[in-house]
Symmetry: C2
Subunit: 229 residues, 2 copies
DNA sequence: CCAAAAGTGTTCTCCATACACCCATGC
DNA sequence: GCATGGGTGTATGGAGAACACTTTTGG
């Protein structure tokens, strides 16, 4: 028999921490568990990895099945494997975090699809398993990485105003930023393209709409440029 | 039967990328595989996770069993789970990276213990499985993180000279640093303690020996200080 | 006394920060 | 015409980068 089969095997799951910015707050998507253990508790979306499936594929599949969300930014976070983290027995979980912009209308589909709901990260319910720890790890990663990688744009619609972008960073970083300095810096990086259009329907001067230039970002990255907010 | 047992289970392993700086180069510890698959190939030390064992514990155990190394800096890197990464079947591997200083004398024990050997990261042999990819990921992490976390000290003996520390950074980062600027910056952080002793037995002026102040680092970290080289 | 590395200051440039007012638009 | 956010420039301080010579020690 092949050596692989000589060893006992933990079960393997994926769990996803999905972030969005909504109503001026950073929020996380949770689902209400239907079954034991932790039936009726809130938990991260996730589930078992299939035998022939990539880990990231499993994360995307579970996310779509449980929340209706697809095609979002998704990155592996950390693997949690304390032997006692699941009362059913040994279950190791590969955690991912995801970013989604709620302007796309996907939200409602997601929220309706099952018992899923958004919670502000500073007002979370009790969570099943070690999901509070996973969520804390994801939050730390997001807050750290958003400063040196262009993650912020994943949380906004394709076209956005400079004020929206600034508010996003203020919400994630938890502190106010100077408007003029923020604009000078972000525009100085040469990663924003003025779409020529303007925001409409607001009772004040219309703001210009920009989009993030991914192509140019990859180019600059290769040349040793580093993003920094 | 509990829900855990309804699912097919991949096998679970840990793999370790152990870095050291030796003879002015960054090197990695590899072992020569005794068995199929990839018998006689070089590979990362690692092996199967036991059923009641923490992931990090498994990594430390395998490292000690296969290379004799213990008590080193170890951090989870990434989890690799492509379905075809192991010809024996589905094997998911949680990768760790470790840092070790070779002045401690552990090396020789390690090298002698089995078919283990150090290779410069820019002159690696062909590796088993997807270990080349794991190693590349670890190298990227090390080079990135060494700049904003005090990892460098893990690669030096407890007491070291400023020149040794500077050489270490030059080797890892792959570029020359200015001596006066490096010293001003590193001493300005207040994280080095002058031991009062000096290096002896060199045919030139004796250099002062310093040690890293971990306690103070943790203190400053809590106060919002950020390390930066 | 010679070879080898240790140790030490100053200048300049650039970037982060602090700060306040006029402009365009919808109602 | 007024309320609301959009958009803009300048002065200052601190940190990074460039740069060369004297000191100490062992052999």
């Amino acid at each position: 028999m092949s050596p692989t089969y000589e060893h006992p095997r933990p079960a393997l799951t994926v769990d996803c921490v999905v972030f969005a910015v909504e109503r001026e707050r950073l929020e996380v998507l949770l689902i209400r568990r239907a079954r034991e253990p932790f039936a009726a508790s809130w938990a991260l979306p996730g589930g078992f990895v299939d035998m022939e499936e990539n880990l990231e594929t499993a994360a995307r599949r579970e996310l779509e099945e449980e929340t209706g969300l697809s095609d979002l930014f998704l990155e592996q976070l950390y693997t949690f494997g304390r032997p006692d983290r699941d009362p059913r027995g040994r279950v190791v979980s590969v955690a991912y975090y995801a970013l989604v912009n709620l302007a796309g209308g996907q939200v409602h589909a997601a929220s309706d699809a099952s018992a899923a709901a958004w919670f502000p990260v500073d007002a979370l319910p009790a969570l099943a398993f070690d999901h509070a720890e996973i969520l804390a790890t994801a939050l730390e990663r997001l807050r750290g990485k958003v400063r040196y990688a262009p993650l912020g744009f994943e949380l906004l619609p394709r076209r956005f105003t400079l004020t929206e972008l600034q508010r996003l960073y203020e919400i994630i970083l938890g502190r106010a930023l100077d408007k003029r300095n923020f604009r000078r810096k972000i525009q100085g990086m040469g990663l924003l393209v003025d779409t020529g259009d303007a925001q409409r329907g607001k009772a004040h001067r219309a703001a210009r709409l920009y989009r993030f230039d991914r192509r140019r970002y990859r180019q600059l990255e290769r040349e040793g440029f580093s993003f920094w907010v």
